[in-house]
Symmetry: C2
Subunit: 192 residues, 2 copies
DNA sequence: GTCTATAACGAGATAGAC
DNA sequence: GTCTATCTCGTTATAGAC
């Protein structure tokens, strides 16, 4: 078991804090105290809070992209891939976290420009991936989409982000899971 | 034209700031400078920021409740009522605002307890209103819901909140309107 | 790489005059 | 009701020793 380097541990703690409290809702002091190190030590690894924020999104988006590629490469049909996509969100919601980019979208006007750009790119990438899965599913005959796949993709991304938001404020992850299941079922013409 | 009293003008400015920047993203200094008054004058009207926050949600929820009652009393069919419901959100999204309670839901863990309670109540009330409209529409035969109306109501609330979040970060209100239209259509078995 | 010390600023809030 | 003056604390960030 190699010990985790400081930079990574900073990212881990900051990521959880942003996902629960928001980028404007945590401070270097929070991260430092949790790691048992001094505040200025953080600045050695991330000169400014904006730098830390950029690194957080970059890592999160990268991790998400890897997961999406992994799902896409499975031999599963489209509906199973969509279920796996929803499972990514379900995992995030455990221990009261919001999607990092959903949280940052709420704070959007207050973010430094590079972070804003990365947030919109995250959503665009997710929608593009979903659109592809939906198109494939339609061609294979497994999905019955009532409309354009790009619109369905946007509804899924927005629907999952919003369902997380509401479910978390109710402290009820099950609320998210049933909503997500029904959203997908209704959107893709599933049995139930 | 009676001049607006200070308390109301404070609420108006603070409301817009919370809807755009979040409760943790604005300060008494922001409100004071925008109104051209001194910071401590705000404390006369709202002793603490938590008090101001409570008053903001109360007024917002009250205004929303009045609008919902007004829509419910119309002779329109369920589908028109749902369209009117979506229009409430569309109006909010104009000039880059988020739904007040959607924004506060993102900041939920950082809010004072009374604000947290008011946020969840807001969502519960909206879902209850929607459930009623959906049930009425189904009895009248106008709506074909694929599942329980309470689940559909939750999908609508979450879907609209999330669609606002994503659309606003893209600076594209049209993205919200098409997503909302499709969401309702797919959920209620509409022509297109 | 991590520390102590400190700067520079903004936050929410209070005291007391007018 | 609104002001000036001030307090206290938390924030991001820097300087410089180890």
């Amino acid at each position: 078991m190699t010990p985790t380097d400081t930079r990574t541990r900073i990212l881990d703690v900051a990521e959880r804090l942003v996902q629960t409290r928001g980028f404007n809702g945590f401070s270097y002091a929070d991260v430092a105290s949790e790691l048992g190190i001094a505040k200025p030590s953080l600045h050695y690894h991330f000169a400014t809070k904006a730098d830390l924020g950029e690194a957080l999104i970059r890592r999160y988006a990268e991790r998400f992209a890897v997961a999406l590629t992994s799902i896409a490469e499975r031999p599963d049909d489209a509906r199973r891939k969509l279920d796996a996509y929803v499972a990514l969100y379900t995992d995030v919601l455990r221990d009261q976290r919001m999607c990092l980019c959903g949280m940052l979208a709420a704070e959007y006007p207050t973010l430094p420009a590079p972070m804003r750009a990365a947030v919109t790119t995250f959503f665009d990438d997710n929608e593009a991936w979903l659109e592809r899965v939906l198109d494939d599913g339609r061609e294979q005959g497994g999905l019955r989409l009532p409309g354009p796949s790009d619109e369905a993709a946007r509804i899924i991304v927005g629907g999952l982000e919003g369902a997380m938001l509401v479910a978390r404020s109710h402290g009820d992850p099950a609320r998210f899971e049933t909503a997500a299941g029904r959203l997908l079922a209704d959107l893709t013409g599933a049995p139930a």
